[in-house]
């Protein structure tokens, strides 16, 4: 009797093994170095000739909190969670594989700087995550972010890059050109069993498109 039970368990297990496929393997780790200018900040000033001072009173763009991200080219239509920093210093990940996470300590999508939104490559049940096909985005593809005020801002893909997970992320989370960018992050590469993480991070860099369709 016990032999029969054991045989059934073994059969069931082997079926599971076939479904799961082979064990994941480590990938070669690429290294990136993104140097920053020494942590120096500038204190600067300027002189104003009083009678010639020109006041530019354009109302500053105040985007609301992002609520929805759509990427037509990938059939992505995801709710946006706001996330911060995990205890280890990583940007927090969204709590599930279908939503995306906006880094709330950075820029809002649409305001000058680099807003960052991350999405899972895959989920806990093995299902494809919201950004499973992020690597298929091509320059020129459009991304739309709707905020809590109902305003939709469009971004256009400029380029994609792969980073080592430990690489300096300063150029992903910040920019100094005074323009609005949105950078999307997901995992890529092969699973590293030691690190319990994929071997790379895929970053899609985008630029804000204005109302006339210009970058």
């Amino acid at each position: 009797m016990s032999r029969l039970i054991t045989a059934r368990i073994a059969r069931a297990l082997s079926l599971v093994l076939v479904v799961l496929g082979p064990l994941p393997v480590n990938a070669t780790t690429l290294s990136f170095s993104n140097s920053l200018p020494g942590g120096l900040q500038l204190l600067s000033g300027s002189f104003v000739v009083l009678n010639q001072r020109e006041e530019v009173n354009q109302p500053a763009f105040q985007p609301g909190q992002p609520t929805r991200l759509t990427i037509p080219a990938l059939n992505v239509n995801a709710a946006v969670q706001d996330v911060g920093v995990a205890p280890g210093g990583d940007m927090d990940a969204p709590s599930n594989s279908v939503d995306v996470g906006w880094y709330r300590l950075g820029s809002h999508p649409g305001e000058p700087g680099s807003a960052v939104i991350a999405g899972h490559f895959d989920g806990k049940e093995g299902e494809p995550g919201v950004f499973n096909n992020l690597d298929k985005l091509q320059p020129g593809n459009k991304i739309h972010v709707k905020d809590e005020k109902g305003v939709t801002i469009t971004f256009v893909v400029r380029e994609s890059r792969r980073y080592n997970p430990d690489a300096d992320a300063a150029d992903v989370f910040g920019s100094s050109d005074g323009k609005a960018h949105l950078n999307l992050i997901t995992c890529a590469g092969a699973w590293d069993t030691t690190q319990e993480s994929y071997s790379h991070r895929l970053i899609v860099f985008t630029d804000r498109e204005d109302e006339r369709g210009h970058l």
Partner: protein, 296 residues
């Protein structure tokens, strides 16, 4: 009348110091701490202030000072974008080629102007590999009797500054120091910061006359919380003899970037399931072997 006032060139200097968390910098100090930074100031006064009769020769007189008593400035230099032959005149009293706190280095430059011209003079000086820069502006009106716009009655500084915050951000306290290195007391001094609204009331009005006298330094503070790299500008306005003096200073506080998020999980699950299954299989095998041996 106004020309006379210009020649007095009331100077208003605002310096910005920050108190906060400093990390990962060659200049890191125990936090929180007061960080001293090199400050250099320059004034530029043209002579004459206007050429109502048309084109002519103008001589710019520059005065450069070191506003930080603790350190002397080295590699001091002055350039002017409209006058190429800037020459040192006097001021290195002890002849050590360093701009000491109690020295005023004077430079001159002469050029021909055919049109109304605003020039920018830039002074630079270095301390411990930190370079301080300051601009002074002067406008000479050519071919008009209209009074010229205000000349460089305002001083401002530009210095390198070591200050940063961790990725989750933190509290920063700014300290603003306003002084009047000119010859006329300043009234109605107002300090505003575009990213920090809770500016304290002033300290330093020693004779409590509400005028920024030339021997006073008024100190203001403001605290705010920053979560991302922020450039903020502080403005100061004041009045002297009916003229308004304005100055501003900008500081950038760096907030570290977080590391990349870990946004992949199924492989982790797969690994966990694999490990579990292998463990179960191993246990079952051992159990079978144990039972077989027991039967024998």
């Amino acid at each position: 009348m106004s020309v006379v006032i210009y020649k007095r060139f009331v100077l208003l200097l605002i310096t910005v110091m920050a108190v906060g968390y400093s990390t990962e910098s060659a200049f890191a100090q125990t936090s929180p701490s007061v960080l001293y930074v090199p400050l250099i100031g320059i004034t530029s006064v043209p002579d004459p202030l206007a050429l109502p009769g048309g084109a002519g020769s103008v001589t710019y007189h520059y005065a450069v000072k070191n506003f930080l008593a603790e350190v002397a400035l080295t590699r001091v230099d002055v350039v002017d974008d409209t006058c190429s032959s800037v020459a040192f005149a006097e001021g290195d009293d002890d002849g050590d080629f360093q701009l000491d706190y109690n020295e005023t280095w004077r430079y001159t430059c002469t050029t021909e102007l055919a049109n109304t011209t605003q020039s920018t003079a830039t002074a630079t000086g270095t301390v411990n590999n930190i370079t301080a820069t300051h601009n002074a502006y002067a406008t000479v009106v050519v071919g008009s009797d209209n009074p010229p716009p205000l000349v460089s009655i305002v001083n401002i500084t530009k210095v390198a500054y070591p200050l940063s915050l961790p990725a989750e951000g933190g509290d920063i306290a700014f300290t603003y120091k306003v002084n009047n290195p000119g010859v006329v007391p300043l009234s109605d001094v107002t300090v505003t910061d575009d990213k920090c609204s809770a500016i304290s009331s002033k300290l330093g009005d020693t004779n409590v006359n509400n005028l920024l006298d030339i021997d006073e330094v008024w100190i203001y503070t403001c605290s705010t919380r920053l979560t991302q790299t922020t450039t903020n500008t502080v403005n100061v306005t004041a009045f002297a003899n009916g003229l308004q003096a304005v100055s501003d200073a900008t500081i950038t506080v760096e907030v570290d970037s977080p590391d990349f998020p870990n946004v992949g999980e199924s492989a982790s699950l797969r690994t966990t399931v694999w490990a579990t299954l292998i463990g179960v299989l191993a246990s079952l095998s051992l159990l079978l072997v144990f039972k077989k041996r027991k039967r024998r």
